[in-house]
Structures are given as structure tokens and as C-alpha cells.
Symmetry: C2
Subunit: 436 residues, 2 copies
Amino acid sequence: IVARQDGQLQAMLEDVHYADVAEIVNGIDHIKQATYLIKLLDSDKTSDVLTELDDDLREAILKRLSVKEIADELEELDTDDAADIVAELPPERAKKVISHIEDKEHAKDIIELLRYDEDTAGGLMAKELVQVNENWNVLTCVKEMRAQAENVTRVHSIYVVDDEGRLKGRLSLKDLLTTSTKTHIKDVYISNVDYVDVNTKDEEVAKVMSKYDLEAIPVVDEMGRLVGRITIDDIVDVIKEEAEKDYQLAAGISQDVEADDSILELTRARLPWLILGLFGGLGAVFIMQDYEEFMSNPELQDLFFFTPLIAAMAGNVGVQSSAIIVQGLANDIVKGSLWNRLLKEVGLSLINGLALAVLVLAFGYIMNYDISFSLTVAVALICVIIVAALIGTFVPIVLDKRGIDPAIATGPFITTSNDIFGIFLFFYIAKLILHF
Amino acid sequence: IVARQDGQLQAMLEDVHYADVAEIVNGIDHIKQATYLIKLLDSDKTSDVLTELDDDLREAILKRLSVKEIADELEELDTDDAADIVAELPPERAKKVISHIEDKEHAKDIIELLRYDEDTAGGLMAKELVQVNENWNVLTCVKEMRAQAENVTRVHSIYVVDDEGRLKGRLSLKDLLTTSTKTHIKDVYISNVDYVDVNTKDEEVAKVMSKYDLEAIPVVDEMGRLVGRITIDDIVDVIKEEAEKDYQLAAGISQDVEADDSILELTRARLPWLILGLFGGLGAVFIMQDYEEFMSNPELQDLFFFTPLIAAMAGNVGVQSSAIIVQGLANDIVKGSLWNRLLKEVGLSLINGLALAVLVLAFGYIMNYDISFSLTVAVALICVIIVAALIGTFVPIVLDKRGIDPAIATGPFITTSNDIFGIFLFFYIAKLILHF
């Protein structure tokens, strides 16, 4: 690359899949070199590579391309990918780029797609699809389809619309091939078709498509008119992003960051949760100060050695309970009443708590602790585990009912609050039992 | 259902999609009633519903069906789904069921699929596909394809093989329709085709398919012969399961459990991690006992109030660092040397640590702590955060290099070890600074 042997590089890259080229370009640290490589490619490959690049790199490269060059790339892309790229440009530049697109129909479609939110069906869909009118006969239909299929990379389904463009149903390729050419579409189409609204959330679309094993789903507007379709490969991305987001939230990382992002971006994503944890820890300091009197009793000051253990158990149990509930909510399998579920958690925690209490008693015996001291720790541990499990179950369900993403309740949020509750409960119970 | 109004129920269920029927059946607590409902359905719907049911419920229902009934359902299913169901039956029963399948070809395919591990390409693939010989001409090809397509729910690609059945390439439907009927396949097929081996891990298949946006991928055996194909809907399930597994591991849940599983199953998945946490906590008790002398100094005994804070910060930072690395490893974007990455973590932790240290100093000022005491806590906090971040980055990378799933390093494992390290470091540094 450094030597700029255009011919050789071009020949090499020609046979490489665009996803692999994107991987190579992503690996280049120098933006200048990356741009140079991008410009070397065939135009139809460039456009595909562009869609696969990391966001930051794509932005940098687009800055170095002329308005005309970008417009050329967009012509090669499906409307959904093209709209995604335009959405990343500064508004002024986006306008210029669109005015340079020669295929006016394509430009119109892109502008229409820009209207929709990124995380709705409208933002995911492409305008490329094959549609036929219910009043056509099979012959007209086949002719029209051929023309339309030119623009569509992969034909998944043929959608049937009425004269107003409203979605009526779908047509199977098999039926089309086996019926007489004079039959009207009206008489052969399947009226039972799944579809989503332009405003449907992307997660909802993903749920519907994976539940019914669909490879494409038509999208209708508020009036029921067919306006686009979403294919399964876009949904795979949604599912992955969703899973990554939940995972990061559970780990206390608030924005969509990657290992290769800048230190500043990573700090922005991580520091807020750490500050939350710090305040939780300072809260625990306050609580323990109230029980400072234990310190003066040589037999009881050892209780303070157990605070990290209690806090850790409260945190672990809370995270476990909340993770199961959050996952259940995501898969729509949390049914039955809240009370039954809480009751189940109590049962579960009792079993876990008793098992752990036995271990604590054994530890106390080996360490020659006073039996009442060991019992205090054990009983407090059981109570803490039960309360932690209840909080872990209760909070995500309540958040979900209020329309808040329950995934935020699985990370530092639940750990921190359970730490404080746990330590408070621990000392409170200790005081009760030891009659201080 | 209770009233057993067969006719009415049957009519109602006829129009419902099988995935919805499965959801209804999953919601029925009574196995008898669920079985009754299943038996009411049309045979081709029953089989689809069966594949969508929860594992436990399906097992229970299959027990209540005769060998002949199960065989009938299997005939309706694609080979991959059928093989999955057979694999769940006790070996004796499975043999009997297979012997009752009338379509011997189908039975043979199922037996073949049972040979492969569940989590390999062989275990995911279906035998249903459309293949043509490179020596045929287009006319023969179209005829053969019609016959084969009968058994295939959705035709994604037409695969081209040689006389020995080895995969040579694929054929586009468009090319097939636009070339003369006498052309040989040899002259029109596309030799550039992605494929996987029967032994390829399912995660690897998912990576390849989502990277190249494939909707189906052919599977070859050790000799390069085409033996099956995997479709994107199966991959969506793999991606989801993978994400859920990582998420559960990060939360300290070791098996694939759901909110609705029995208390015993949930305990088995959760208790081991809690015991790990308990041992960590007991380890911390040991460490603190070594610093019991602090207790006798009224100015220094307050250090013990800060142990939960230190432990929580060490745990949070460790989980954040490891989560980013684990996700990066899963997406193949962790490149560059380990040292650079560790250096970056140190920089990041320094920024986070300094910000948090300032807050601690402010807290100490408000609370009228001795300045040397506050400084001790602040300095220790910074050190703990840096070490926790290094451990969180180092451990998953090393695990990954040794072929162990790094996801186990994100949950209680990293929290527990960081708790202990953190507390040890805290007291060690305190002793150093305060010259005890």
C-alpha cells in the first residue's frame, strides 16, 4: 500500500469478498491509506465495503470523498444502506450528495427513508421489493416482476397490493409457476401475511421475524400501504446489537463502545457507573459508622471483617435474579403473577442461603469463633440473600411495567443498592441477635 | 379446553400460526390438556408446534404419544428439526420411532444427522436442498430442480456438484432463466461459493453467515461432498443462544436456565457461583484479620468502613474491563499487542481513578476526616482500580489464548478475585502510607 502499486493491489482486491476488504480497511490505522485503498476498488464493491466499515472510519473516509463520489456509491447501494450513510453526513453535505444522485427515483426513496427513526421498522426497511397488483393476471405479473427484480438483490416474497397500494397478501413463486397465465392474482394470492408498521420498534420486528421464522417482512404505513420490506440480515444485526447493549449495561457500560474506541469515549461510558458505585460505598460507610460501638468490643469487631462477604453475596444474588428476569422479559416468557414469582425466589434463596449458612458455620467452627457469633453471621446471610433476590426480581419487573428498559437493573445499579441493603441488614440483625 | 369442545377448538386453532399455537400450549400448566390440544391439530401443524415448544414440555408430551404418532410427525418435518426431536428421545424409543417412518430416505437422512454434535454445522444442517450436476444442461437441471424443490420449504440457492457429489459452486436463478436450455451447467455456474465443514462450530458458522450476509450456506463433509445446508433462521437461534449464554455467565448462572425452570434446576445453576463468592468473602476475612491491629487505633479503625467501597469498585472496574474485552474477542476486533491494550487500560483507569479519588477527598473533607486518612483511601482506590482493570483485561485474553471461553471471566469469577485483591491492596497500601 505504501508503495502505491495500484495495478497489483487492484488485481488482488478484485477477488476478495467486500466483507473481507472492509476488515482489511478497518485494520489500517492511517486514514489516508484507507481512503486510497477504498478509491482503488470497483465502484460497486466500494459501496458495499463502505457499509461494512466501522462508523468512525467511515465518517473519516466520507470526509475525504467528493460529493459526487459519495453520490456514485449511493447509487450502487440498496435504499436502506444508502439512507444509513446519508444519515451520518452533516445535513448540508447530505443535501448536496442527494442532489448529485442521478437516479431520481432512488434519491426520492432515500429521502423518504430518512424520515424514519433509526430504531423503527421504517428506519430498517429498504424500498426494493417485488409487488404486484391484485387485478393483474399471472402473465402481466410475471413480466412486471422481471422488471422489478432487476433492482432487488434477493427476492424473498412477492407482495400483492390493491389499486391504492394497500398490502393485501403475498404470492408464492410456486403457485405463480403452476397456474395458468390468465388467472387473476386476486384468485391465487395468500391473504394471510405477517407485516409490521413503519413505527414498530426494531426489537419488536426482530421478535416477530424470529418467532415466525420469516426471512423478510413487508412494512406498511399508517394507511396500510406497502412502503418497504425488511430482510433477515438486517434483523440479525438488530439482535446482535440488542444482546451487546444488554450485556454492556449488565457490566456497567452505558454507551455502545468497543475495545478500540478512544480512552475518552470509554471513560464517558464507564465513569458514571463507577461514581454510582462510589456513592453506594460511601453510603455503606455511613451505615457502618452507626454501628461503630461494635468496634469497642473485641468479640464483635470481627463482624466488620464480614462486610465484604455480605456485600458480595447480596450483589451476586441480586445480579443472578435480575438477569434471569430480564432475559425472561426479553423473550416474553415471564408470565404469572408477580407474587408467585417473588414466592419462588424466596424458596430458591432459602435453599441457597441455608447451603451457604452451613459453610459459614463450618468456617466459624474451624476458626474457633464463638457459636453465637457464627450464628449471627449465618442468619444475617440468609436474610440478606432473600432480600437481595427479592430486590433483583422486583426491580426489573417494575421497570418493565413502567416502560423502562429493565436491562439497566442488572448491572452496578442492582449491585450497589444490594450492597447497601445487605450491609444495613447485616448490622441490624447482628444488633438484634446480640442484644447490643 | 376443559369442556373438550373438539370441533370448536379445532376450528379456532386452524387459522392460528403454529408459533402462536406453541405459545398457547406453552402456557398450559396441565400436561394432559396440552397433549390433548396437540392431538387435536392437523398433523402438519402439530409437527411445527412440537419444534417450537419448551424442551421440558415437549419431552412430557412426546412421552404421551405413541411411537407411530411421533413417526408421523417426523415425516412432516425437515430433517434437521426431526433429528433434533429424535435426539431428545431415549435411545430405545428413538430406534422404534425411526423404524416407523415410512419414507425410508427421510429416515436415513435423520439417522445421518444424529451422528453430528449438536453444536457443529453437521448438527445444524438440514438435508433438504436443491443440487444439480455440473454435467447437466439447463433443461435437465430445471426438471430435476422442480422435483427436488417439492421437499424444500424455501429455495435459497442451487448448488452445483460434480459426479462424486463434491461441491463445485452455485447457480443463480436469474442466470438459469436467461440462458439457453442446452447450455451446460459447467459453463454458467459461479465457482465462488462460501461453505462450511460438518465439523465447523456453530458459532463459527454464525460468524461467517452474518459477516457475508448469507441466507443459507452449504455444508460439505471431509471429502468436500455436499451433505446439507444451514439456513439463516437456525443461525438466528444460535446467535440468540450464544448471547444469552454469555449474559448468564456474566451474571453468574452456569447452565441454560429460564425463569420458569424448577427451583432445583435454578439452584444448580446459581449455587456454585455463590459458593465461589462465599469463599472469596472468607478469604477477605483472613486478609483483614492480619490487619486487626488497625482496630485498636480509633483513628484507623474507620478504614474498615471502606472495605465494601473498595471491594465494589474493584469488582465494577474488573467487570467493565472484562466485558469490553470478551465482546471484542467475540467480534474478532481485539487486535494489537497485549501490552498496548494493558497500557490503554492503565491510562483509562488513571483517569477514572483520579476522578473518583477527588470525590473521596471531598467526602473526607465534609466528614472532617484526617487529611492523611483521606489521602490513604484515595491513593489506595486509584491503585485498586488500576490493578482491577489490568486483571479484567488480562484474564479473558489469556483464557481465550488457551482455548477457554473468556465469558466465564466476566461474572462472579472476576468480581470475587478482584474483591480479594482489592481489599488486600487497600490494607497493604494503608499500612505503607500510615507507617503502621
